[in-house]
């Protein structure tokens, strides 16, 4: 069956056999940013956005994404033009092994899209599906707050934050 979706802003199509999972489809096609941590939807390291909502791609059929907009970490920003969240995660020391980071960033992006000035409790709730074993989350809370502030002030080092997800 032919699967059509908008992936990181581009119209793409894939031939899929049937009950293929979105995570496998993405990784088989070179989108390695989504990580495999548990295959049960428990850890969130495979999280991507579908129509702006963060989902676990390890328990999401690729076919469900038909006709939808999918954003992976590769679509959030690049090393040359990172999103404010990607910058602040690095600046604040929120990245250690990095396995949880793509998923966590997409959850954080969804939060900031809906709630530009999140309170601590909002951040904790938004990221609670993304397990991290390295950081104790302290620096990640800080990074989300700093990014929120920076996006509002619109001066992420003079650049506009890269756009992704449903805003595309």
């Amino acid at each position: 069956m032919k699967l059509e979706m908008k992936l990181n802003g581009k119209d793409v199509s894939f031939e899929i056999a049937g009950p293929e999972l979105l995570l496998d489809l993405l990784r088989d096609n070179g989108y390695f940013g989504a990580k495999r941590g548990c295959d049960n939807g428990d850890c969130g390291s495979c999280a991507v956005q579908v129509d702006g909502k963060s989902i676990c791609s390890c328990i999401y059929f690729a076919g469900q994404a038909h006709g939808r907009e999918v954003t992976t970490i590769e679509g959030l920003g690049t090393m040359e033009h990172p999103h404010a969240l990607q910058e602040t995660f690095v600046e604040c020391g929120a990245v250690q092994c990095g396995s949880c980071i793509p998923g966590m960033l997409l959850s954080a992006k969804e939060l900031l899209d809906e709630c530009p000035s999140p309170k601590d409790a909002d951040i904790r709730e938004a990221l609670d599906g993304n397990l991290c074993r390295c950081t104790g989350y302290t620096k990640q809370f800080e990074a989300v707050k700093v990014a929120a502030k920076r996006i509002i002030e619109g001066k992420s080092k003079g650049r506009k934050p890269a756009r992704g997800g449903k805003s595309r």
Binding site: C38, I123, L131, R133, C134, T138, F141
Partner: protein
């Protein structure tokens, strides 16, 4: 001598951080290798059984199945999977595949197939006839005369006493007339549970052949060089035929200080002559990888009325599970990283690591000290209470100080006698003072707090660890200069997400007067980088950092020599600064000019340094941890409200990364103290192997964690640095236990402190009071 620091002690960005945050970083699985086969292991459903027959005929018929290996297909080579220096202090009690299974999850056979689905179906289609044996599921009774023998094979080596299921034993005694001078004797038993590391990236290994027909292993490991050696040993191939590459690693915490799957993946590659990949599922990671050794710790201490501790007698039974990987050394650390913290004239230690038919213990951040610190810090609290002394004052009065030594350092090393050393840096008093202020100790400790059934309390724990294994660990590095004044730093040191690539680049940058971003780091490739024992024993910053510093200093000397000739100036008092050579007379040259001259113009040579480092001491970092907890007396629920970790790691090469190490270790420790436990059914089958049932803390569970770095200067470390990675995982269990006592007056000595346990203890107390 202290020198003004430019790059070191600065919170520069992690050099691989942005590539991780943009999805560019390449972990093991983030490459496509043409023709890759999927591997899957058949796991034993029985805790203890002999394999009488394996029928693979049905499995072989499944389309896509390429190869099935059983114990009949592989050389039988006793080895250890522990990634340790050679000769390993762990017994040779493992085989790539064996004719006996020793725990639920032990491997029986391996399949390689064209698709994951075919591999999984083939594993299910293998028919095994077992002779089921009685399992040993209780560590305390593993040594009983009538206990079944777990390692009854004849070819294993260096098991302490296989007849008694004793994998390893160690002990020492210093002093005499134990407990004769003490006014009070304390005698307590502490119990810790099975827990797993839970790296977000499970174990994953690929193997393929290069154009020279050598085996290339791309693997998520903390020990690439040990992996090369042990794969060569276990498969009987020459070391020169094996190359191990460690790309980005998605967390290890000790789980990957293990050569766990590299052997079997390489065996499948050899059998098929195809690339092969094996990735553990989360359940396999939990059950079949490694765990933290559960321990039964019996600690006795003697105390005088004047507050002097006279004796410690620490007796440990460590459950190493089915194999003795790290059994001896983890057990050693339960004494060696805990007992020296407090002075006592008589110290006795005995540790027995016993086999059971349960998951395999291994290296886990803290490495035995975690369990030992639980016992020690809870008992110290109790001793202070007996004297009606403030627990902080009691600790200050008794902890080891600058210039002091402990007989334990010499008596107990890692798997052998230790190395005498005295403390050359110690900021513990300041850690205690700053941490106490931050948590509000004076206002809160010992005071009734809370409303109705919700009670509050504060607790403390003091800690030490080591930095590297003296006389054993070695790290090496090479640094070479490029035309633009940048450098390649090639080193064996293994970054598993810790940030060591960044920290080591900062050290080199400091020597060379450049920014860390002008250093291109390549680490952990057995073909391309010099040797390093790997990422364990809190060694990388301290040990590999010194190797990097020495290599960079060689390069610096060559730069100064070339610059001196170019400027016809004596470079004696020249310095390197901001990418320039600055002569004493003020004349300057850019590093780029020096590099171009040395490579192309005159007396050409490659400016490069190469150095190794070993250490003869293992300077302890110190820490004082504090927490405030809330205990609900109606439900037994314990909630950590806030946590403070004050840490003396010498010079923090990168303070932000050092904070990150501390905060991550603390949360892992809190989660371990409160909820984490692998539970088993009566047949030894784990009941909670996935994260749905094995809880690890998420963002909603995490309390605010405050790190306070207390700078000291360790003269034997690079720029005064000691270790920071492990120490802070040891704090939460005793710290929370002590806080629970402060809140509700009950001392918990069996972890984890689940609501059920707390409620049970409250009910027992209430019943006891009614009986009175």
């Amino acid at each position: 001598m202290k020198q003004p620091l430019v790059t070191v002690n600065k919170s520069v960005r992690k050099i691989d951080g942005l590539s991780m945050a943009t999805g560019r970083a390449q972990y093991v699985d983030d490459v496509h290798v043409r023709g890759m086969l999927w591997a899957k292991l058949l796991a034993s459903p029985h805790a203890h059984a002999k394999i009488l027959d394996i029928d693979i005929s049905q499995a072989q018929k499944i389309p896509g199945v390429v190869c099935i290996l059983t114990h009949k297909d592989l050389p039988r080579v006793p080895h250890t999977t522990a990634g340790q220096g050679y000769p390993e202090p762990s017994p040779y009690d493992s085989y790539v595949l064996d004719k006996k299974v020793r725990f639920v999850g032990d491997r029986v056979a391996a399949v390689a197939a064209e698709t994951r689905d075919a591999a999984e179906r083939a594993v299910r289609a293998i028919k095994v006839t077992y002779e089921i044996l009685t399992p040993v599921l209780d560590a305390e009774h593993a040594m009983d005369d009538d206990a079944p023998k777990i390692h009854d094979e004849e070819d294993s080596l260096r098991i302490a006493d296989p007849e008694k299921n004793l994998a390893a034993e160690v002990g020492f005694s210093v002093g005499k007339n134990f407990f004769e001078d003490s006014d009070y004797i304390f005698d307590r038993t502490f119990v810790t549970q099975y827990a797993q590391h839970c790296p977000i990236e499970p174990h994953i290994t690929m193997a393929w052949f290069d154009e020279q027909d050598r085996i290339v292993i791309r693997t998520s490991t903390q020990v690439p060089f040990h992996a090369r050696r042990i794969v060569a040993q276990a498969l009987r191939v020459p070391v020169k035929r094996v190359r191990v590459i460690k790309p980005r690693v998605g967390g290890g915490f000790g789980a990957k200080q293990e050569v766990l799957n590299e052997q079997i993946v390489a065996a499948l590659a050899l059998a098929t002559h195809r690339p092969v990949k094996l990735e553990y599922t989360r359940a396999e990671e939990t059950i079949s990888a490694r765990t933290r050794h559960p321990m039964i710790i019996h600690l006795r201490s003697g105390l005088k009325k004047d507050g002097t501790i006279t004796d410690f007698d620490l007796d440990v039974i460590s459950n190493t599970g089915a194999y003795g990987t790290h059994a001896l050394t983890v057990g050693c650390n339960t004494g060696s990283k805990v007992l020296p913290l407090y002075r006592a004239k008589n110290v006795k230690f005995n540790m027995r690591a016993v086999y059971t038919n349960m998951p395999v213990g291994g290296a886990y951040r803290g490495y035995g000290a975690t369990q030992g610190a639980f016992a020690m810090e809870c008992l110290i609290d109790e001793m202070a209470e007996r004297l009606a002394m403030d627990p902080l004052e009691f600790r200050k009065r008794n902890h080891i100080r600058l210039g002091e030594s402990s007989p334990v350092f010499k008596a107990l090393g890692e798997g052998r006698e230790g190395v005498a050393q005295s403390i050359e840096s110690c900021g513990l008093d300041q850690c205690i003072d700053l941490g106490a202020r931050e948590i509000g100790w004076r206002e809160k400790h010992g005071k009734p707090k809370g409303k109705g059934p919700i009670k509050r309390g504060v607790g403390v724990a003091c800690l030490m660890q080591g930095s590297s294994i003296p006389g054993i660990d070695m790290g090496a590095a090479t640094i070479k200069m490029n035309e633009d004044g940048s450098f390649n730093l090639l080193m064996g040191a293994t970054d598993l997400g810790t940030g060591s690539d960044t920290v080591l680049a900062q050290i080199a940058a400091e020597v060379l007067g450049i920014r860390e971003s002008d250093i291109v780091v390549y680490s952990s490739d057995t073909d391309m980088t010099p040797f390093d024992v790997g990422a364990y024993a809190s060694s990388t910053t301290f040990l590999s950092g010194m190797a990097v510093k020495k290599a960079a200093e060689q390069a610096r000397d060559q730069i100064l020599h070339v610059a001196g000739k170019m400027l016809e100036t004596d470079p004696a008092d020249a310095i390197l600064q901001d990418g320039m050579v600055v002569m004493a007379n003020g004349r300057r040259l850019s590093l780029k000019e020096v590099a171009l001259h040395s490579l192309y113009i005159l007396d050409q040579f490659q400016i490069m340094g190469s150095s190794s480092h070993i250490t003869h001491t293992s300077p302890p970092p110190f820490a004082a941890h504090f927490c405030e907890v809330e205990v609900d007396e109606e439900t037994g629920q314990v909630t950590v409200l806030s946590y403070v970790a004050a840490v003396d790691c010498g010079t923090a090469i990168n303070p932000r990364l050092a904070e990150g190490q501390t905060e991550g270790a603390v949360l892992n420790g809190i989660s371990y103290a409160l909820v984490e436990e692998i539970c088993f059914d009566p047949k030894g089958r784990p009941r909670n192997a996935t994260w749905q049932y094995y809880k690890i803390f998420n963002t909603q569970d995490a309390p605010p964690i405050k790190t306070i770095l207390v700078p000291t200067w360790e003269p034997t470390g690079p720029y005064g640095a000691k270790s920071v990675s492990e120490i802070s995982i040891n704090g939460p269990m005793p710290c929370i236990a002590n806080a629970i006592y402060d809140a509700i007056g009950i001392r918990l000595r069996e972890a984890p402190f689940t609501a059920e346990k707390v409620l049970k203890a409250l009910k027992l107390r209430a019943r006891g009071r009614r009986m009175e």
